[in-house]
């Protein structure tokens, strides 16, 4: 009951952050000047007075003659109604909306799978290296995490790519799914799968196990790369907070009850040690999403990140607008989820 109240309060707190997010995106786009905004809409064959007239019309349409402050509200109204403008990049040209529907599933998929991998890999290793402090396992974990932590993200992905795709050939080098498999599939139209747009899930829904497996097979390597990039921080943090927790009075108290050491670790120590790891993962998600961008570029996965970089290289305002907005929303949602997990873990924050 109290947890629900907390969740509702936390959701309400998102609103100002979202408004801030739209302000920052609005400013970014408008600092570049109005010409870029209307560029996508302007017929390039017009010249002279006709062109001037067309520009005038577009200025009217987008309220570009009004003060910036007013413009923001027109723009916000437009965004809320789902009109995000046009984008023109080599990988997609058309409404930003459609582009998002096209690209976001891959990004979400990468972010989710790699977050899950981070915790699956991170928790046992971090906990264990604290419990077995200074053992060979602990020492090698520390060397490995230190190195991983220092590596730039793209380096981790490249190494993973070289080892598992180039040398071992276990995984494909690039792409999100084998395009040959999708030929003539009824639920896959113009590069978009229906109904969820996430190929893996749609394939499962339609019973195409083959395609689903192929999609997963493509995602393992980039997700693993992103996870490896992020897991080092989590392991280091968990290890140190676990060491701190193991020194606490309540651990001694737990031991004094005569419960087994594994219960002491699993029930008493681990949950307490997880709290700082979960709170700091809010910052970790920001890094992880950055990693998603780079991984999409390196592994050639058509996701929002890949689109962003294409937009940057091709001077495309729509792409930057759409991707910044969607990444912001993903991040805000992720931190909301993390906060709820935190509250579920720690009864003290619910009050």
């Amino acid at each position: 009951m109290k947890l629900w109240l907390y969740i509702i309060r936390r959701i309400l707190l998102i609103i100002p952050t979202l408004i801030g997010l739209t302000i920052i995106v609005f400013i970014l786009i408008h600092v570049r000047g109005n010409n870029l905004i209307i560029a996508e809409y302007l017929n390039p064959h017009l010249t002279g007075a006709a062109r001037d007239y067309a520009i005038q019309q577009l200025y009217q349409r987008f309220h570009l003659n009004d003060p910036l402050f007013i413009q923001y509200f027109y723009w916000l109204y437009q965004v809320i109604n789902g009109d995000l403008g046009l984008t023109r990049t080599p990988i997609y040209s058309g409404p930003v909306n459609t582009a998002l529907a096209l690209f976001y599933p891959n990004t979400i998929m990468l972010a989710l799978v790699s977050s899950i991998l981070i915790w699956i890999i991170g928790i046992p290793i971090g906990v264990w290296s604290a419990v077995k402090r200074d053992s060979v396992f602990d020492q090698s974990t520390r060397v490995a995490t230190f190195t991983l932590y220092a590596m730039p993200a793209y380096m981790v992905y490249l190494l993973v790519l070289i080892i598992f795709a180039v040398y071992l050939k276990w995984f494909p080098i690039s792409g999100a799914v084998d395009p040959l498999l999708l030929q003539g599939v009824s639920w896959y139209v113009n590069g978009i799968s229906y109904p969820t747009h996430i190929i893996f899930i749609d394939a499962l829904l339609h019973g195409d196990i083959n395609i689903a497996l192929n999609s997963i097979w493509h995602f393992i390597l980039p997700s693993l790369g992103i996870a490896l990039g992020g897991v080092a921080g989590i392991i280091r943090l968990l290890r140190s907070s676990m060491l701190e927790v193991l020194d606490q009075d309540y651990i001694r108290m737990a031991r004094s009850k005569g419960i087994s050491e594994s219960e002491v670790i699993n029930i008493h120590a681990r949950r307490n040690a997880l709290i700082p790891a979960v709170t700091s993962f809010v910052y970790g998600v920001a890094g992880l999403l950055g990693g998603v961008v780079v991984a999409e570029v390196i592994f050639n996965i058509p996701g929002v990140g890949y689109w962003t970089v294409q937009a940057l290289l091709n001077n495309d305002a729509g792409g930057i607008l759409g991707s910044t907005l969607i990444f912001g929303i993903i991040l805000v949602t992720a931190s909301l989820i993390l906060d709820i997990i935190y509250a579920a873990l720690d009864p003290r924050v619910r009050y």
Partner: protein, 307 residues
């Protein structure tokens, strides 16, 4: 009687020397008895020597043009390391050793610039908002919240889009996304120091705010910020290189490590060294800076100091 106490006090003072120098001595001792920290320090030093040589004595190490790569279109496909090319070559026949020696300079100088400027902005704002509190503090926190609501790499790309892709603009965009971190950090430090009793007593004795800030708070906030800078430097070098890696088209021809790595990308299956070697150069630097930063953290850790 009172004279005596004065004398003894002065003698103790002379014997013990200046307490600040004493503290500094302890700091050096803690740092230089930590082998990994020293290793990090030495490696970092080597990188900076490379910068100085490339900047001021390029011909001394056999570099003809420090500002661009030298293509060899007779042999555009990457060659493996050999006696003529110690690190091999990358796309366009560029010699990797030569390219790396040139590139380190750009990455390091820009990264250093980013952290220092970012830290100064963040420190000033964080100090003021932490010390004054109230509406100013509230506004600053909301602003940093907004910055934290977009993944920093994406925000940097968006800013880069506004400014146009160039090395300087990469640096600017990273300053813009990095300062809020320092602001938060400096604010938290300031808040914790503000609560200590000696600040209260300084206030009670009528010291002015500005005085308190610079005499009491800044000296206490600076050391942890400094440690943070040295730890961040490794991350920032990586992010800077990452932006250069994804942001430049293959014809840009700038001596920068991320860009250099991206040149090898098309040959990754036949010439993996062309991406591994430049990447390792950054990794080693980041590793060294992190080791050094860990050593520095020990230096300011009161627990370690007392043992």
């Amino acid at each position: 009687m009172s004279k005596n106490i004065g004398l003894i006090g002065r003698r103790n003072y002379l014997l013990k020397q200046n307490p600040r120098i004493e503290e500094l001595k302890i700091s050096f001792k803690i740092f230089f008895t930590n082998p990994t920290a020293v290793a990090g320090f030495v490696i970092t030093l080597l990188y900076f020597i490379d910068i100085i040589l490339v900047q001021f004595f390029p011909s001394f190490i056999g570099i003809s043009d420090p500002n661009r790569y030298i293509y060899n279109f007779n042999n555009p496909v990457p060659l493996p390391p050999s006696s003529s090319h110690w690190c091999g070559t990358t796309a366009g026949g560029i010699d990797l050793c030569d390219a790396i020696i040139k590139s380190i300079r750009i990455d390091l100088i820009y990264s250093l610039f980013i952290v220092i400027v970012g830290a100064i902005i963040g420190l000033l704002l964080g100090l003021v908002s932490g010390y004054l509190g109230g509406i100013f503090d509230e506004i600053l926190m909301r602003i940093t919240d907004i910055f934290f609501s977009i993944p920093y790499l994406v925000l940097a790309i968006a800013i880069l889009f506004v400014l146009g892709v160039s090395l300087e603009n990469i640096a600017f965009s990273l300053i813009i996304v990095w300062w809020p971190l320092y602001a938060r950090y400096a604010r938290a430090q300031t808040l914790s120091i503000k609560q200590m009793t000696f600040i209260e007593s300084a206030k009670a004795s009528g010291t002015r705010d500005l005085m308190i800030m610079f005499k009491h708070i800044v000296p206490n906030v600076l050391p942890p910020i400094f440690v943070q800078i040295s730890l961040d430097l490794g991350t920032v070098v990586g992010v800077f290189a990452t932006l250069a890696f994804i942001g430049f088209s293959p014809t840009a021809n700038i001596p920068e490590l991320g860009y250099l790595t991206s040149l090898g990308l098309n040959y990754i299956s036949i010439a993996p060294w062309s991406v591994i070697i430049p990447g390792l150069v950054i990794t080693v630097f980041a590793l060294a800076v992190n080791l050094m930063g860990d050593g520095l953290r020990d230096v300011i850790d009161p627990k370690r100091r007392s043992v």
